[in-house]
């Protein structure tokens, strides 16, 4: 159930994490151990148990299609590290992908 170092690099890329070679080694080991631990669940025989997506009653509560006032935009923009022209300014992440 071990992970390869290539898989760890791929996961790091998806999560937009930059890992050092030492971290890649360490996480390969740690993630493999976590997966192996979780894999112990497979030992339980579940063949006679129906799949369960939720333990709550199987019905989503629904909302009428009525607009309500939004949050003042300044309040939400206050969370932005940088604001430009009323928008969140972010670095161009995907353009520098390896």
């Amino acid at each position: 159930m071990g992970l390869t170092i290539e898989e760890v690099r791929h996961i790091a890329l998806l999560a937009r994490l930059r890992l050092t070679p030492e971290e890649e080694e360490r996480y390969t080991e740690q993630l493999s151990a976590i997966l192996e631990h979780a894999a112990r669940l497979k030992e339980v025989d579940t063949s006679h148990i129906p799949p369960t997506a939720t333990v709550l009653p199987l019905r989503a509560p629904l909302r009428p299609d009525e607009p309500r006032p939004s949050t003042p935009h300044k309040q939400i923009l206050a969370n932005a590290p940088q604001v430009k022209e009323g928008m969140f300014r972010v670095p161009p992440v995907l353009d520098v992908e390896p």
Partner: protein, 479 residues
């Protein structure tokens, strides 16, 4: 060189025209609003919030599924979490549907030329939330979250389309359908209808499915047609030269009209789809489903076929009259009030009512001129109470005033003049004033009589009975 055919499947995203967003009460339509005005902790993905599903979103999606003849509108469907990181997706995941969509199966017919029809199979119809918008300004990326959480319905087709032109026709018919059933404005300029196209080629007539590429971000019918055509051309060129096609994701740049390879490395498994833990399944009870489907109108192509069958209209007329739902209703209501030949009403609709609609920039349903007005105008014309010119003018006058055609005719003195002695006086004067044309006529060019009639029509402000005027001229010019 071998003949190739294209194999194309589409994923279309349709923005639903609800008042509020899919999981929160923020206003859904932000077209005229500044950035980040219709946002809240739910649609911007702040910690600790919970989404609540908008009932109308389910209803509109069910309508679309039914209109696409879904084999199964699922009594129980699930929302799923699609994980990926992008700045305009603040939660780090999109709530969508995956293994248990709202509806499976079905088809959508796309009429081609000369009576042929392409039956495009539909694999699934599901609901999901839209992401925000990234605005690129030089090295800056600015994010507007207004569109986050706007409801989308996605329809995925089988690879059943065979050319760029068929892609365009599919989109045109889909736009017609979503407007017809009232679930979306389908305005591509506003991004309310967007599509991704999966394309491969094969030798014509074979059944194989080859490596496909995907074009993202096709935001107009023209863009879809041009981009798909370009990609088919590229694949044929590569294959003919003995080179392989790779499973690329391509981006269509509308400005430069070029396809560029996207550096996307994510595969389906990377999205780590799982059942959305914050939302319970959508249960569509039989009673609710029936209530929704009761609102499903006769569909455009069915109505088109019925117009041909029931009113004996040419295909061409039926096609134009069923382009938009309120127009088709206007036509049928006028027939009901008029009681005469359907083709007469059709001619008035296609020439004059459509002109009025175009000039005023409205739908037939929004005109102040109503079907009973049009029926009355045609009736007045049939009874020779007014001339054709006056009838055409009346359309505008009724549209502007909302008054009945009959009362306008009376008050403005527009009734046709069939008083022979008055018309003869006018005609004699025209001949006296235009000796050159009289000479031309006598020289053998008798078609000039039309011009004489025109002069009398002008002087009578369109009210003279044209047949009578022509008769008068014929009498006068014999002498």
């Amino acid at each position: 060189m071998d003949e190739y055919e294209a194999v194309i499947g589409l994923e279309t995203h349709i923005q639903l025209n609800t008042n509020s967003k899919i999981f929160c009460g923020c206003k859904a339509d932000s077209w005229e609003d500044p950035p980040n005005r219709n946002i809240c902790p739910i649609c911007t993905g702040l910690p600790g919030v919970l989404p609540v599903l908008n009932r109308t979103v389910v209803e509109k999606a069910v309508l679309l599924a039914a209109a696409m003849h879904a084999e199964s509108i699922q009594p129980l469907s699930y929302l799923a979490r699609k994980n990926y990181f992008y700045p305009d997706l603040p939660k780090g995941y999109q709530i969508s549907q995956y293994d248990e969509p709202l509806a499976r199966g079905g088809y959508f017919d796309v009429p081609l030329t000369e009576g042929a029809t392409r039956r495009v199979r539909i694999e699934k119809v599901h609901i999901e939330e839209d992401a925000g918008k990234t605005i690129r300004k030089n090295d800056r990326r600015l994010i507007d979250f207004n569109r986050c959480g706007v409801p989308l319905v996605e329809a995925v087709t089988s690879p059943d389309l065979r050319s760029a032109d068929e892609v365009a026709k599919y989109l045109i018919r889909l736009r017609q359908l979503v407007r017809w059933i009232g679930i979306s404005e389908g305005d591509m300029e506003k991004g309310q209808l967007r599509c991704d196209a999966n394309i491969s080629i094969r030798p014509a007539g074979s059944e194989e499915l080859n490596t496909k590429t995907e074009i993202k971000n096709l935001n107009s019918i023209d863009a879809a047609r041009t981009a798909v055509q370009a990609e088919i051309g590229r694949q044929i060129e590569e294959t003919s030269a003995g080179r392989a096609i790779h499973t690329w994701t391509l981006n269509w740049d509308e400005e430069s009209e070029t396809l560029t390879k996207m550096r996307s490395k994510e595969t389906e498994a990377d999205y780590r789809y799982f059942r959305e833990p914050d939302l319970l399944p959508i249960r569509l009870e039989e009673s609710w489903r029936e209530e929704i489907l009761a609102a499903l109108p006769e569909l455009p192509l069915d109505r088109r076929a019925r117009f041909v069958e029931e009113y004996k209209l040419p295909e061409y007329d039926a096609e134009i009259l069923t382009d938009e739902r309120s127009l088709s209703r206007f036509f049928e209501e006028t027939i009901g009030k008029y009681g005469g030949a359907a083709k007469t009403v059709s001619n008035w609709m296609m020439n004059d009512v459509l002109r009025l609609i175009r000039e005023r920039g409205v739908h037939a349903g929004d005109l102040q001129l109503r079907p009973h007005h049009l029926a009355e105008i045609i009736r007045l014309l049939d009874d020779k109470k007014i001339t054709t010119n006056v009838a055409k003018e009346l359309l505008d006058k009724v549209q502007d005033s909302g008054r009945s055609p009959r009362s306008i005719v009376e008050e403005e003195g527009l009734a046709q003049v069939s008083d022979e002695s008055a018309l003869r006086t006018l005609a004699e004067q025209v001949l006296v004033d235009n000796p050159e044309q009289v000479e031309t006529y006598k020289g053998g060019k008798t078609t000039v009589i039309g011009w004489f009639v025109g002069q009398v029509m002008k002087q009578s402000k369109g009210k003279a009975n044209p047949q009578m005027v022509r008769q008068i001229f014929e009498d006068l010019l014999v002498d």
